[in-house]
């Protein structure tokens, strides 16, 4: 048994199109541990959907291996693959419910496929509808349900066969902000309480912040950065990550073309979020700083603040300011203006 529930090894996917070959995935290596809520974020066309569809082989990788729970799925016979697929559930942006079946019938469907007797399936489906707060709508058809309710049915259906993994492809992109929050809270609960591994595809950083503990950033078919959400939020290494995490900050920085030197980004951890570190530094060193951008956020359940400031133009003072921040255990990184503007 491997320590990973999902492992992608050198996965590539090419599509033949009229306009030539599209390399949707270019050698993806990705390991997901049991219990992870793993986010995959990227811009439209980056290859997110292709990547997640490769996990349950809705898309056959051109090259590479997909390993699920110690079993290599790539190259498996159709019949054996179908057995494994029951342990990898999926929910969709457009919900994809059977329009001719009511909520209960939809939740029963995967159980029918798995050969569970009718009565037993119905009983289990009712329990699941209770979990997603829809027991009173069991006999409503999808056309009679709201988007949020449809996704809840989708989630109940996904949980029916006790999956180990739940793949979510833009599961909240068709929903309004309030409904999105409630669905994300439900996903988080499923991850925490049922211990189901989540793979969350999204183009919205808020979704990652609310649900995920780990994240991979995908850009034109390659993963450019990955790690703990906390870590990447604090110290994004690539321009792609910074752009996704601080879309506002980046814009304002480039708009304000002042002092090209000594610009730093500070990320506060929980304990510092409430400490006036920067104020104290100004008071103590008697040298002002220029605050370009500041924001506060909750990431994966932790309070996170970030600030972009310009240190003193005086080299010596700037060094002192940096030393002060280091001494107070504040994470910061120099902002490379050239690179920012390119990105």
């Amino acid at each position: 048994m491997s320590e990973y529930i999902i492992s992608l090894q050198g996965v590539t996917k090419d599509f033949e199109t009229k306009n030539g070959l599209v390399q949707a995935l270019k050698g993806i290596n990705l390991d997901i541990e049991p219990g992870d809520a793993y986010g995959i974020i990227g811009l439209s066309g980056a290859g997110k959907s292709t990547l997640v569809r490769c996990i349950n082989l809705l898309e056959t990788p051109t090259e590479g291996k997909v390993i699920f729970d110690g079993k290599t799925l790539t190259g498996l016979k159709h019949k054996d693959l179908n057995l494994e697929r029951r342990k990898i559930a999926m929910i969709f942006q457009q919900f994809n419910l059977l329009m001719q079946r009511d909520a209960l019938g939809n939740v029963c469907f995967p159980l029918e496929i798995a050969g569970v007797p009718k009565d037993e399936a119905k009983k289990r489906a009712m329990e699941l509808l209770k979990i997603v707060d829809l027991e009173d709508r069991a006999h409503s058809y999808p056309s009679q349900l709201s988007g949020g309710q449809k996704q809840r049915v989708g989630i109940a259906r996904a949980l029916a066969t006790d999956p180990k993994v739940l793949l979510c492809d833009e599961a909240t992109s068709a929903l309004d902000p309030k409904t999105t929050r409630s669905i994300l809270a439900l996903l988080k609960k499923i991850n925490r309480e049922l211990g189901i591994t989540l793979v969350v595809i999204t183009h919205e950083m808020d979704v990652i912040k609310q649900v995920c503990n780990k994240v991979a950033i995908i850009e034109s078919g390659s993963i450019v950065e990955r790690g703990e959400v906390q870590e990447i939020f604090t110290k994004p290494k690539t321009a792609a990550a910074r752009k996704l995490f601080f879309p506002d900050g980046e814009g304002k920085e480039t708009a304000l073309k002042i002092s090209h030197t000594h610009r730093i980004r500070i990320a506060f951890k929980d304990e510092h979020t409430y400490d006036p570190v920067v104020s104290n530094m100004i008071l103590e060193l008697k040298a002002p700083v220029n605050i370009l951008y500041a924001d506060m956020d909750v990431v994966d359940g932790h309070q996170r603040g970030q600030m972009v400031i310009c240190l003193s133009d005086d080299e010596a003072v700037a060094e002192k300011q940096k030393a002060y921040l280091r001494a107070h255990d504040v994470d910061f990184a120099e902002v490379d203006v050239e690179e920012e503007e390119e990105a």
Partner: protein, 219 residues
């Protein structure tokens, strides 16, 4: 002509027409439905693409469909006579109707199944459903309203074909209209058969639409 004789003729014609229509529609579906399903399943975007099958079956269907019914009927007569012993009457007409209608039904079924949301099929695949399960429980069920509407269209078309078979003595109301209306100038009989045919079409259309609505849970 005496009214009782007239009613007797019309009644027999109606029964023959209904018999030909119902039997040929049923058999055309028994043959055409699986063909329609197979065309969707094996299409390039289907759940099991099989290019050579899709292309050759599509070709056969198109060839038969592009021959006008009357010509097909005349062309098939010698073979029908050889196989079932007669080239006229309801049996012969049913045989020709089936050949003509099965490809038509196949295309109707194909069109209905094309309307099924690919996302729902994909969801079923992600659950590990076999192709057979997807065909039976997803495609055919999700397309049910459209399939029923198609069945009404097919039945009405076959009814029309069966009347055309009257030209070659195929039995039924069409035969009656031609024998009495055209050759013996009994216009009353001809107009009565026309009215009966119109009423039949209306009834079939209504049944189709009502059944499709009743069995559509999207409404």
């Amino acid at each position: 002509m005496e009214t009782s004789v007239l009613v007797g003729l019309l009644w027999q014609g109606l029964l023959e027409t209904l018999y030909m229509t119902i039997v040929s529609t049923l058999v055309a579906y028994i043959i055409g439905l699986p063909i329609g399903v197979s065309l969707i399943v094996t299409s390039p975007n289907g759940i099991k693409p099989v290019s050579w099958y899709n292309k050759s079956m599509g070709f056969v269907v198109n060839v038969i469909r592009s021959v006008p019914f009357l010509i097909l009927m005349i062309a098939l007569m010698p073979y029908v006579r050889k196989i079932i012993g007669t080239g006229i009457g309801t049996q012969a007409t049913v045989a020709v109707l089936i050949v003509a209608a099965a490809p038509f039904v196949a295309r109707l079924v194909e069109q209905s199944l094309m309307e099924v949301d690919p996302g729902v099929i994909e969801a079923a695949q992600s659950m590990g459903a076999s192709n057979m399960t997807i065909i039976r429980k997803v495609m055919l069920l999700e397309a049910r309203p459209s399939l029923l509407n198609g069945a009404a269209v097919a039945t009405i078309t076959i009814l029309g074909y069966s009347a055309m078979a009257g030209v070659v003595g195929g039995g039924g109301l069409g035969d009656l209209a031609i024998k009495y209306g055209m050759y013996r100038y009994e216009t009353t009989i001809m107009w009565i058969t026309v009215i009966v045919l119109v009423v039949l079409v209306q009834i079939l259309q209504e049944i189709g639409v009502k059944a499709a609505q009743k069995l559509d849970n999207r409404l």
